[in-house]
Symmetry: C2
Subunit: 602 residues, 2 copies
């Protein structure tokens, strides 16, 4: 069986049966994206992913990136893949067609990204960074900046990166020290050092446009004094022709656990000559611009982690169907071996992977769908409601999803036994690649703090309550389906516990117990995520149960029954445990705070 990276039946289920993405095409803005077009897009993405990206996944991991005299070389096979990716116009799927984007609904782009990242996430990092840098120009650039750079970025002629982290400024961006001094012509001379810069240099493209966070001379300390600049690797003359080297130099690349195909660069700006940048947006408003982009960037990271986990699941499933080992537990002694999918522990592992990865797919696509609905909405309050939902969901889509994705990748390796530990199979690479997603774009600890400290109280808690309302709608629908009623009850009880837990924590935040609350931030992220996964699976089951009533084809019957059984599995086995975790959070154990520093060890 050919290797798959995402189950097309399930991708289509989320797009067409759960989210009914075609409804978006009823609006002028997305009128092109009919069912037929959407299906074509997904098919093309799948073909490119399986034929061109997956085929160089391992090779690129083995070859890695090299650094020699300030020049980065990416894996050879990425050049062909990149040309095809550009030709397919995949870099700026959802971006403004006026500048070379495809104007696609984000929901549909999620499906394409599912395939691309499942096939070769390190390769995708190159593209996502170009898109992200371009999006900053699209959102905050002057006409001149857009004219000079944007089309060449969205079409992939030039690359992009994002220079944020410094050795002493990681989670604490406000501590950065890269300096900007204004020139008479309105440009800035930038100087400083950055680290952990994905695609800081690459031989895939002739020029790279770097958004750079820096502090203008005399600006306030902390995040209030950070500005965003656009710094090209080679300056661009006003007529668009290439100018001289801009003294932004890669000084080395990291040797990492995974994502070997993506160069993680240390960069020095203005170390020898002049590194000239132009202001992107307003002075000292750099962090605000970054925050606008943050949701999208974090959603992408959730997608990367999930896509690895989803691919790992399908590999494990196929292996478990093929691998014969051990007789059935109930068979007479001396019976022949059976495919390991028939052993209860493997079956439990697979169902646990299936339900978690499918719930992740629904959750991530749903966030994309909310963005599309927000784009289409003309009503200010409605827009704000969508924005609130997205804001609350992002730390879950990034933090919770990547935490679980790593666990799933580990389960997917385990199903292969000793073979899973070898580089002969993709499982160990998926695990290594996936591990970065818990760290970058804000560690998952930061995501947990974001959910608790910012998102829970957003709009006086209205955003969180809007999310609760959404879950309650599914619960209401499920209660009307006989076989789902008890699952709906369990989700309802869990949701009520979650509300109580959120209320308790919100109270603690405004009290002397604030540190206790934050000591339970990550567990709170976990239980919020568990509840939302249960929601997504119940939502799926409601649809599946309805479809089963219509006497579907045999293959669809199996699929829909799998949805109902999967919901039962997750809601019956995970949610009761989540409720116990909520009780623990509410009990507010302070041990971690009570420990003397010296008591942690000598």
């Amino acid at each position: 069986m050919a290797q798959e990276v995402a189950d097309r039946r399930d991708v289509d289920f989320v797009l067409h049966e759960q989210l009914e993405v075609e409804q978006l095409s009823r609006h002028d803005h997305f009128s092109e994206f009919t069912r037929k077009t959407v299906d074509l897009i997904v098919s093309e993405a799948r073909n490119l992913a399986l034929k061109e990206l997956l085929s160089c996944q391992r090779e690129a991991d083995e070859e890695g990136c090299t650094f020699d005299s300030g020049q980065v070389t990416v894996p050879k096979a990425f050049h062909r893949a990149y040309d095809l990716f550009r030709q397919g116009e995949w870099i700026a799927m959802c971006d403004d067609p006026a500048w070379g984007g495809q104007g696609m609904p984000r929901t549909v782009a999620m499906a394409a990204e599912n395939y691309f990242n499942g096939a070769n996430f390190p390769f995708m990092l190159h593209n996502i960074l170009i898109h992200g840098a371009g999006k900053l120009v699209e959102r905050f650039g002057t006409d001149q900046q857009k004219d000079l750079y944007l089309k060449n970025m969205y079409t992939g002629k030039w690359g992009g990166s994002m220079l944020l982290t410094e050795p002493e400024a990681g989670s604490d961006v406000g501590a950065l020290t890269t300096k900007a001094v204004k020139n008479d012509d309105g440009t800035y001379r930038i100087s400083g050092s950055k680290i952990f810069i994905s695609s800081g240099d690459t031989d895939l493209v002739k020029n790279i446009i770097h958004p750079v966070l820096a502090r203008i001379e005399g600006a306030p300390a902390g995040t209030a004094g950070i500005s965003l600049f656009l710094v090209p690797k080679f300056r661009v003359n006003k007529d668009g022709t290439p100018g001289e080297f801009n003294d932004i130099v890669c000084t080395g690349i990291e040797h990492k656990m995974g994502i070997h195909g993506s160069p993680t660069c240390a960069m020095t700006l203005g170390g020898k000559g002049a590194c000239i940048g132009t202001l992107l947006g307003e002075e000292n408003k750099g962090m605000r611009a970054m925050f606008v982009m943050m949701n999208e960037a974090r959603l992408h990271v959730g997608m990367q982690g999930f896509a690895c986990a989803g691919a790992s699941y399908l590999n494990a499933l196929n292996y478990a169907r093929d691998r014969v080992q051990g007789a059935a537990l109930t068979a007479p002694k001396g019976s022949s071996g059976i495919p390991i999918i028939q052993h209860p522990d493997i079956r439990r592992t697979l169902l646990s992977m299936k339900t978690a990865s499918e719930a992740m797919r629904s959750l991530l696509f749903y966030v994309g769908f909310l963005e599309d609905k927000m784009t289409l909405s003309a009503d200010k309050d409605e827009k704000a409601r969508y924005q609130g939902l997205i804001d609350v969901l992002i730390p879950v889509a990034k933090g919770y999803v990547t935490d679980r994705a790593f666990e799933l990748c580990s389960s997917g390796l385990q199903v292969f036994g000793g073979y899973g530990y070898t580089r002969e199979y993709p499982q160990e690479q998926l695990l290594r690649d996936c591990r970065i997603t818990q760290i970058y774009e804000g560690t998952n600890g930061i995501q947990a703090m974001d959910l608790l400290g910012r998102k829970l109280g957003l709009n006086q808690g209205q955003a969180f309550m809007d999310l609760v309302t959404e879950v309650e709608q599914t619960i209401g629908a499920a209660k009307k389906v006989t076989e789902l009623a008890s699952l709906a009850d369990t989700l309802e009880t869990t949701l009520n516990h979650l509300k109580e837990t959120a209320g308790k924590l919100a109270g603690d935040l405004g009290s002397k117990n604030i540190l206790t609350a934050f000591a339970h931030a990550h567990p709170f992220l976990d239980v919020t995520g568990d509840t939302l996964m249960g929601w997504m699976l119940l939502w799926r089951a409601v649809i599946a149960a309805r479809k089963l009533g219509d006497n579907p084809k045999k293959k669809d019957t199996a699929f829909y029954q799998g949805q109902v059984t999967g919901a039962r599995f997750f809601i019956s086995t995970v949610l009761p445990v989540a409720q116990a975790k909520m009780a623990v959070i509410q009990a507010g154990d302070t041990s971690a705070l009570d420990m003397a520093d010296t008591a942690f060890g000598s």
Copy 2:
């Protein structure tokens, strides 16, 4: 601060305060091993580990093993380390002094192994395999076999391995096809292929003695027809001088996710010439011999996993103390950064790592201690009781411990943020190395099945109940300590839930629900382990509370308070969740069994 791999204070606590290992020296058998000697052994092990093994941990990972024309080359630095390891007489720490062993209590050896494996587990694999192969000769060999091989193995002049797995016989050893045909002189011609053979070949030693599982021509199918043979790489003449090559050939090595310093070999026996082996033990009793060694081998694997996790914890702790990032949550805006150990989420992560790794240390050393008590006991019933306790604990010491150890290694990486993902720090290697421990010596799925299917009902359930009695003794002691009484109650409630859960599953095993029971085998391993970890931490806290009453020195006060607080953390936050997991097991969800194979995905 110099890198540590195990906290000496805690190692000493377990040896001297929790297990009171000196009591063993009151018996003739262990009379040499007084407190002073034990301390010297641990100090020497620590020195060797930190100075010689840790220093080549990364180098060996980068260099890896190479394979060229049938010859395996291990990392260069391992030669020096191996010479020192041999000189220190560490290979056969607990083995028979008559054959070159040191006759050390296993409890003490656990401390040494903690240091060695924490410093360089891939290196230690070489040694543990020599010991393991030697032990088989010691236990099952004829005098002639011992004379020819054993001293050279225990002193490390010759190597050892274990040829068990075949491509179609992994978890299902009974499926193996390697063939043995008896010669007129009583030896056997062996032919077949083996895979995943650690130290199947190496340039560390001149000869390698391979125990090999094979089926004698005409023997029954399955495990009942498997015999064990001793197959040297180079035959050994009766006078001990080296003979000719024995046609046991390494045909390649695996490229793996981790343990790069340990060659994982594919082996062909008798492919060209004659590969001659001698029977070790009795015909068709090979599996029985393997089972005798299984407990020890699995305990070692638990130690490997734990040692990685323990080292990862200490690295994370030191990093968190040094790394300044972000102001305190309660500090005024613009305040300077603080060491990240002061941030609540990092603190929770560290305490979670500390408690889990310390509980693992106690559990593993305790199993070693039970072996020593069994060795010393002259009473048949008492010996049987110790054996029963060990048998029940082994799947936990291997399966549960390595599952948690991998999670700890991941937490330990996360504390380092982006740096943790780079190869500049040891965290990512510890994670990669640790991952194998969940797989080999019986996957953790097999461990879970062993606990449920074999160990729970061992001696009509007496072994499991003996373990319960041990836990209850600690609960009784803790109830008398005011500040521990409520923790004792929580552990007691959890233990009672565990007994109920075990009873439910035991009932299912003998009924038509047997597959349902096995679908919950791994969760049952989890909750059993959680309960035992809570036990170990409460046991520690009982001692610590007593010592705190004696006005200890300041440093000891911090240590003991850390024990009490740690027990509170684990028992208050983990055990309530374990209880919920037990309720889920008892509810006996059958979803995983109900799924049609086709419903898992197309």
